[in-house]
Symmetry: C2
DNA sequence: CGAACAATACGAAGAGTTTCGTAATTAGGT
DNA sequence: ACCTAATTACGAAACTCTTCGTATTGTTCG
């Protein structure tokens, strides 16, 4: 239940990214894999993980001396939640304006543009 | 200076949206135009505006008895900041994965899809 | 066993956000 | 001038997030 509505904070997203990329790990491992900046002390990361556990963002395996944490929310679902939230809150649910804003400051690669074009084709195909 | 780095909170975004849509207004006007849910008492909105003023998100005209507030940040710039932040933090700067996630849960209208396609064409044109 | 080390648990502090009650201020009407 | 109504100013409370220091617990090794 808590997994659904919980919107991860920026610090929590840092942790989730590590777990999504490297898989489950102990506090020490996660701590070492986090970005250097901002610097975070070991116990800070521990506390963060404990709270994320209460929120249902991660699960904890206590069978080992050093508890092993793993994600409890999928990257896909989290990405969807966040992008939908932004879309509703800031872009009035207009996909095109969001894409426009993103394109206006960012050097999208040709591969990216082609990729998006394919998605559009697929979308339009499904709809008809 | 404060206008640049300040990332508006969700409550602040509600206020900004009202101002972007309706233009400058008094606390009472803004209060009445805010979404019903969550309900916010008049003085809560006032305080919010005062703090946003300190942050540089809005400007205040005190020449009238009832102060008139207006935005100090453009919708475009704010949208760019937020979408870029999301892109970097959650999508590893991959436009296409963000668009894919957005499309995967959302009924994008045909107009939206066409609009995006035009943007892509324009982008690719500028690049060559 | 006991020393040393490593991990977890706990709690508190500081910052930021949001809320709202109460006080002070100002303007209008009679 | 005075009462009333509306507004702003102020500050406190509740909550969350983040940080880190310290205490406690557990493990290993001599």
């Amino acid at each position: 239940m808590s997994t659904k509505n919980t919107k991860p904070t920026d610090a929590e997203l840092d942790v989730l990214r590590v777990l999504w990329e490297h898989g489950p790990g102990t506090v020490r491992e996660i701590h070492d894999r986090l970005p250097q900046t901002p610097h975070r002390v070991y116990t800070t990361v521990l506390k963060l993980l404990q709270i994320m556990c209460e929120k249902g963002l991660v699960k904890r395996d206590e069978s080992q001396r050093a508890h092993v944490y793993e994600v409890a929310v999928s990257m896909e679902q989290t990405q969807q939640n966040l992008v939908n939230h932004l879309l509703a809150k800031v872009f009035d649910n207009s996909m095109s304006s969001m894409v426009m804003r993103a394109l206006s400051t960012r050097q999208a690669s040709k591969e990216d543009l082609d990729e998006i074009r394919k998605l559009l084709d697929k979308m339009e195909g499904d709809e008809s």
